[in-house]
Structures are given as C-alpha cells and as structure tokens.
C-alpha cells in the first residue's frame, strides 16, 4: 500500500516510474476499482467476503466472461460484435436439441461450438468481404439470429437436458464449480495466444493502426475474420455452461447479454477504438460486473435498475479511458 502514496510526478524516482508504468496498463483502473468495491462491500455486508459468495460471483459471470474473452479480441481489432446475445441463444438451442436426443457432453458441446463458429463466420465474411461496418453487421445479426431461433424452435422451450450434459454448469471439483475452471483455463489460453502467437500479436497491430498493418503486409481480413469466428466458438462453449446452469432453453435466452459483454470488455480497460487492452482486462471487467450486480442485490437495489447501472458503467469506463490518457499524456 505504501506504493500508492509514492510521489507521482514524472521525476518521482523509480517507485513513481514503476507506478506510472503500472497505471498506464489498460486494466489498472478496473483492478483498482474492483479492489475498492470488494473492500467496500465486505465492510457493509458480512456475507460478501465469504469464500462461497466469491465463488458464486465467478460462477455467475462464467458465461459472460467466456464470451467477453473472445469479444475482447474483436474489439482489439478495432471492430465490435453485438450479436452475441442472440448467438448464445442459438448455440444453446443447438446444444440443447442435440443433448435431448443423444445425451453426453461432447456432442452437444460440438453442436454449440460449430453453430457458433458458423454464425461468427457469417459476421466475419460480411465485415471483411462485404466491407460492411461490424456494428451494422452484428446489429442485423442480433435480430436475424433471434429469428432463426424462433424458426428452429417454433417458439417452444427445450427442456429435459440430461444431467451428463449439464455437468459443465453444475459439476464441481475440490469444492469449486467447473465454470470457474473453464473461465480460468480460457483466460490463460487467451493470454498465451495474445502474447505469444502471430495471430495474437497481429490483432493488436490491426487494431492499433490498420493502414500501417496493411502496408506491413499483415493479412488484416484474415485476422479480423478469425476474431469473429473465435467469438462464435467461445459463445458455443458458454452456451453449454448456460445449458448446465439453467437446465432449459427459452426463445429469449441470452437477450441483452451482448450489452453486458461489451460493457465487461470496455470496463475492464480494453480501448473501444482497438489496439489497446488485454485478456486480463476482459476477465477483470466481467468479474467487476459480477461483483457490482451481487453488491446491488446485497444492498437491496431492485433488479430493474440493472440496465441503468450497466449503461452508466460503460459511459464511466470510456470516459475514464479518455481522461486517463489525456492526464498521462499518452497519445497512442
């Protein structure tokens, strides 16, 4: 804690310089905010800081966090994907339909991932080959995919998901539920891909400066296309977690999720204009949303205020991002 009180002027010595370096990290404000909230909520409620409550918060954001990790890559590319709510619903329908027919975990998971990847590929093709802005593509897909759900299900629910399929959502090991493991494994995978793979590095380049990337010979269309497909794959995985936790699929499954996902990514600190951010930012953002929603419940705030809080958080996050960069004089 002594570091925090260290001088913060530009000439403030090595501790100041280290702090300064840490503060320009994309996820720094979100982590500080998260720490403050955790302290505040633990002081105001005895239940908050119990191990089971903290674990249940992470379980509750597993679906959101999984999707946010992938949408993070799309946003890093300088694009956006707001079709994930309907996409999650469609993947859950696909996985649920397979599960009720065949049972097992692998086949439903495969069905969800394949359907998600196909939907993501449509997004990617329309954005890269069709040269339509991603906001319009994914806004159109948000509605179109919801229509597909109704076409496939005929408006009926899918129920009776067998227990062996639900295990990804309900099972636990060492007292920790599987969704936590899935989320953490995918987070580590994304950190590694981001830092050490060619595609991972290209994502930052394409989002940071698309023209320079093109001139440097990077395959900018392929990089962006893969990001959209990755979203589909992760949405497929998230859909099976959802299936396990909810036990049924409705026609409105996943409605509004797209907004929470984008909120998680930008609140975590990934810049909405691309090129700047990290997988840790997406994870932090998702956990932050979980903590806030959990805290609101503990404080007795009615659930209907959830959207307003979410919207205010998005605005706060993007404003903080701009102001922080202005204050630190970081023009990049």
């Amino acid at each position: 804690m002594s570091e925090v009180r260290a001088p913060t002027t530009a000439e403030g010595g090595t501790i100041g310089a280290a702090l300064r370096r840490w503060l320009v990290r994309p996820e720094a404000p979100a982590l500080v905010f998260l720490a403050v909230l955790v302290v505040a909520f633990s002081l105001s409620s005895n239940e908050f800081l119990s191990g089971s409550n903290l674990e249940s918060i992470i379980v509750s954001v597993a679906v959101l966090g999984t999707i946010a990790l992938a949408v993070n890559q799309v946003i890093l590319c300088g694009e956006i994907d707001i079709s994930t709510g309907s996409m999650m619903g469609l993947c859950a329908v696909a996985a649920g339909a397979v599960a009720t027919n065949t049972g097992g975990l692998i086949l439903p998971l495969l069905a969800g991932v394949v359907v998600g990847a196909l939907a993501g590929a449509v997004n990617g093709i329309l954005v890269t080959l069709g040269r339509i802005p991603s906001i319009i593509v994914t806004l159109g897909m948000l509605y179109a995919l919801r229509g597909v759900i109704l076409l496939v299900t005929g408006g009926t629910w899918i129920t009776g998901i067998p227990n062996e399929t639900r295990i990804l959502g309900t099972g636990s090991m060492l007292g920790i539920h599987y969704p936590v493991f899935v989320l953490l494994i995918l987070f580590v995978v994304m950190e590694l891909i981001s830092r050490h793979s060619t595609w991972g590095r290209n994502v930052f380049a394409v989002g940071g400066n698309r023209r320079a990337s093109r001139l440097a010979g990077l395959p900018i269309d392929r990089v962006r296309f893969l990001a959209f497909v990755l979203v589909g794959v992760f949405v497929g995985i998230a859909a099976v977690i959802y299936l396990g936790r909810a036990g049924s699929v409705q026609t409105n499954t996943g409605t509004g999720l797209e907004l929470q996902v984008v909120a998680a990514v930008v609140i975590g600190g990934t810049s909405i204009s691309g090129g700047r951010g990290s997988a840790l930012a997406a994870l932090t953002g998702a956990v932050l949303i979980g903590v806030i929603l959990n805290g609101l419940i503990l404080l007795g705030v009615p659930g209907i205020w959830q959207d307003a809080v979410l919207g205010a958080l998005i605005l706060l996050a993007v404003a903080t991002d701009v102001l922080r960069r202005r204050l630190l004089g970081d023009k990049s």
């Binding site: 956006i80 707001i82 329309l126 069709g130 040269r131 339509i132 802005p133 906001i135 319009i136 593509v137 806004l139 159109g140 897909m141 948000l142 509605y143 179109a144 919801r146 229509g147 597909v148 109704l150 076409l151 408006g155 026609t251 907004l259 984008v262 909120a263 930008v266 909405i272 204009s273 009615p302 209907i304 205020w305 959830q306 959207d307 307003a308 809080v309 979410l310 919207g311 205010a312 998005i314 605005l315 993007v318 404003a319 701009v322 102001l323």
Partner: protein
C-alpha cells in the same frame, strides 16, 4: 466538378426511382397477400405506425451523413414516454408534462452530444452506453409499471383523424420532413453536415464548427425522439418503460435503405422518407398477412444487411 455533380445527381435520382419501384412492387405483393392491404383506410392507417419511426429517421439521416450513429433512440423514446406519464401521474398538468417530456428527450440527446464532442468518443460507444442507461432509467423510474389514465384530449396526438380519414400525426410528420429537408439542402448548416461526413478533419480546418454542429444534431434527434414519444404514448395510450424497444433497428434500416452511406458523406431526406415508407409497408403488409412479429424483426434484420451491402457495393462500383 460540374460533370461529377451531374453524375452524382443522376445517380441519386435513379436510386430514388429504384426505391419508388421497390415500394410499388411491395404494395402489389402485399395487396395479393391480403385483400385488406390496398384499401384507403389501411394505407392511411399505416401512417399511424411510421410517423414515429419517420420522425426519428429524419434526425438519424443527418447524423449518419456526418458519419455518426445514434443507437439510443428507442431507449430515449421509452424514457420520454415514462417522463410524460409519470410526471402527469405525480400531479403535473398534462400540457406541462408533455413539455417536460420534450425537454427530457432534448436533454438526453444533448447528453449524448456532450459526451461525444467533449471526450472525442465514437458515437457508437456512447450511444450503446446510453442505450442501456436510458432504458434502465425508464424501467427503474417507472418501477416497471404502466400509466394509462390520461384525459381524453391526449388522444389527439396519436389517434385523431382529420376529415375522418387522415391521421392527425401525418401532418406533424409532413411538417417535420419539410423543415429538415430545408435545413439539410438549403442552409449553411446543411452544407456543414455533408462537409463533416466527407472529411471531418478538412471540415474542421476549413472553419466548420464541427462540435457545435454535432451537438446540435444529437440534441435535435433528442427533440424528434421526444415528439415521436408523445405521439407513441398517445397512440397506445400507455406510458411504459418498454415502449420503443428495438425501434432503433427500424430507424437505422430506413435511413440506410434510403441510401445514406453508413460511412458518412451522403444521404437525402427524400431517400429516407422512401425507406420509411418501404419498411412501414413491409411491417403492415406482413402483419396483415398473419406473419408473426418476431419473423418481421428477422426480415428487417436481413433487410438492413442487404441494404448496407448493396449501398457499399454500388458505391465502390461508382468509384
């Protein structure tokens, strides 16, 4: 230069002709699908439903021409509806409640505009945030309840007939079309709008007050949303937090269908009006033909994608 503008004019002319053709074909198809469609009563009644989308589409056209977008219009409509209904329920006289609603709409638009211009943020992110914020405020402030004990005269805005056949709000819409068309095509402000869309930086260095123009545009659409919300609330005679849910899709689709480039720099009021009419015809015709409303949303989603794709396809071929 004059040759280029001549080509451009011919292109726009032909594009609007194409849209008119699409509209006629649609009307023929719809009248075959349902015998109720091609009656004077139904056609005039359709205007009840497109006036709200149309008013917002007028403002959206100018915003899209500058290269911006406003995703929060549907949520703002809900917020204004709740503001009118609940300030009335709290004892404010209805005329004042309506004025209050318009002020709320304008303020919400101004909020978007200030956020976008002061922080140099992309309108997409800001209005995605306010999309959730306004919707949440509408839900939260109304406690998810509805108000519908308005006095009889309130129905005038959304349910009145002129000469027993023409819906009253059609006149409001026609007036708004004329005013916005004049502003866009006959004033310096209108030229600024195109200039910003073509090259914002160049416009700035040429002395165009970019921020002021944007601020005016986002506030302006807020006011138009306010008007639409009053008409909407009067038409359905209920103020609720979920009014206008998803309307941004209709609005943006109409503008894009009307030929405005999503990248900014081009678009016309005439095109937008045709886009609004086409979407209204589709919605009304499909509803009369017994197609479920969720399917209509699907059709609109696909239509939006096809329209943008064709726009950019033809634009690239032009160049």
């Amino acid at each position: 230069m004059s040759a280029a503008t001549a080509v451009l004019r011919r292109f726009k002319f032909s594009r609007e002709m194409v849209l008119l053709g699409v509209l006629v074909v649609l009307m023929v198809v719809m009248s075959l699908l349902s015998p109720l469609f091609l009656t004077v009563g139904n056609l005039l009644n359709t205007s009840r439903f497109f006036v709200e989308v149309g008013l917002m589409a007028l403002g959206m056209t100018l915003i899209i021409i500058t290269g911006g977008i406003d995703l929060s219009v549907g949520s703002n409509l809900a917020l204004v509806s709740v503001a009118v209904g609940f300030s009335f329920a709290a004892g404010l006289p209805l005329p004042l409640a309506i004025v209050f609603g318009l002020v709320v709409g304008l303020a919400a638009g101004l909020f978007n505009g200030l956020f976008i211009t002061l922080l140099d943020l992309h309108p997409l992110v800001v209005t995605l945030g306010t999309f959730a914020l306004f919707q949440g405020l509408a839900y939260g402030l109304s406690k998810a309840e509805a108000i519908s004990d308005f006095p009889d005269w309130f129905a005038y805005f959304g349910q009145a007939y002129f000469l027993n056949v023409v819906p009253g709000q059609l006149f409001i819409f026609i007036m708004a079309v004329v005013v916005v068309w004049l502003i866009l095509s006959r004033t310096r402000f209108g030229r600024y709008v195109y200039a910003i869309g073509n090259n914002e930086e160049a416009a700035h260095f040429s002395g165009v007050p970019v921020r002021k123009v944007k601020l005016a545009l986002y506030s302006g659409i807020g006011l138009l949303v306010g008007m639409a919300a009053v008409i909407y609330t009067s038409r359905v005679y209920t103020a609720r937090g979920d009014s206008g849910l998803g309307l941004e899709l209709d609005v943006i689709s109409a503008v894009v269908l009307g030929g405005a480039s999503i990248y900014g720099g081009s678009g016309t009021i005439g095109g937008t009006v045709l886009g609004v009419l086409i979407i209204a015809t589709l919605r009304n015709g499909l509803t009369l033909a017994g197609v479920p409303s969720t399917w209509i949303v699907f059709v609109l989603g696909v239509l939006l994608l096809v329209a943008v794709f064709l726009n950019e396809f033809f634009r690239r071929r032009e160049e």
